[in-house]
């Protein structure tokens, strides 16, 4: 899967959990999940578990802790594929 494809799927998952009024098209690689998308950090686990299901990967707690931006998500997924 290419980086663009991963990015697009990551964005679709993140928008489910976002409490900010942000359009999918406004989400960039540098978008902060907590600050810009207003996702509660407790929900980050759900997000990462959605990544596991969608991309058929397994992520450890420590890896999930490092996720802050959309780029972090994409890199994490690419590194596990």
């Amino acid at each position: 899967m290419t980086q663009d494809e991963v990015f697009s799927k990551v964005v679709s998952i993140l928008t489910k959990y976002s409490k900010a009024d942000v359009a999918e098209s406004d989400i960039k690689m540098e978008t902060s999940i907590l600050d810009d998308l207003k996702v509660n950090s407790a929900r980050l686990v759900d997000i990462v578990l959605d990544f596991e299901d969608m991309f058929d990967i397994e992520v450890e707690d420590e890896d999930a802790d490092k996720v802050r931006t959309v780029a972090d998500c994409v890199e994490l997924i690419m590194s596990k594929q």
Binding site: L34, N40, S41, A42, L44, V45, D46, V48, L49, E52, E58, V59, E60, D61, A64, D65, K66, V67, R68
Partner: protein, 257 residues
Amino acid sequence: MNLNLRTKLALKIQHMIGWITFPAWGGVLIALMRFVARYRIPQLREIRRQYKEIKKSTTQPIVICSNHLTKIDSIIINWSFASVWSYMRSFKYFSWNLPERANFYRNIVLRVLCYLGSCIPVDRGGDREAVKKSLDKLAWLLKKGHTITIFPEGTRSRTGRINPEGVAYGVGRLVRAVENCKVVCVYLRSHSQDTYSGIPKRGSEFYLTMEAVEPKTEHSGLRATRDIAFQIIEKLKEMEQEYFDRLGQGSMENSYA
């Protein structure tokens, strides 16, 4: 779990200072609750007996998981579970907890009280690495035989009922990090508590039930963390249902346990 020597030493010093000063602030706190706020726990002896039994039955560390409706739930739980004298003998049973920094670290008086009262501040909903540092401290304390109180809902329930939507998975992570730790689920509620508040109303009577569980999961990784957190929340929901069933039947005075 990587705690540096400095952090471990800081926690040991905090524990020791809390213990040495406990007769002063612990006594004052309980006197304030009993005689100024006029709080009552009708089944206090029975609750303490039950908790003592649980402690006796295990050599494993104990994580107390409670529902969360007021800012002083952890203080009420500590008061319910043992006397000042018991805590003097073994201050490790006075449970550590994770108050939200924004609520409890606003002024110097609260900061000092939180420090003495075995609190580790946390920024809820904040950076996961910062939350992880707080959880690492708790895991280390558990492994050293200390007791922890944690609120799996993450925050005081806005609906007045257990809120599975907001569940924070930190509790699952903590239980996974400390092998064979015993989880004591606690349902605490004043009869006059309709929804969440800062402190309970003056003259409140508290209902408290507890149940020891050892959550197990077939999952691994983050899924295991979430599964354990859900098991604990489900248990708390059951206990809440029992509370409202008893309240509906008017059997509250006869049996709390």
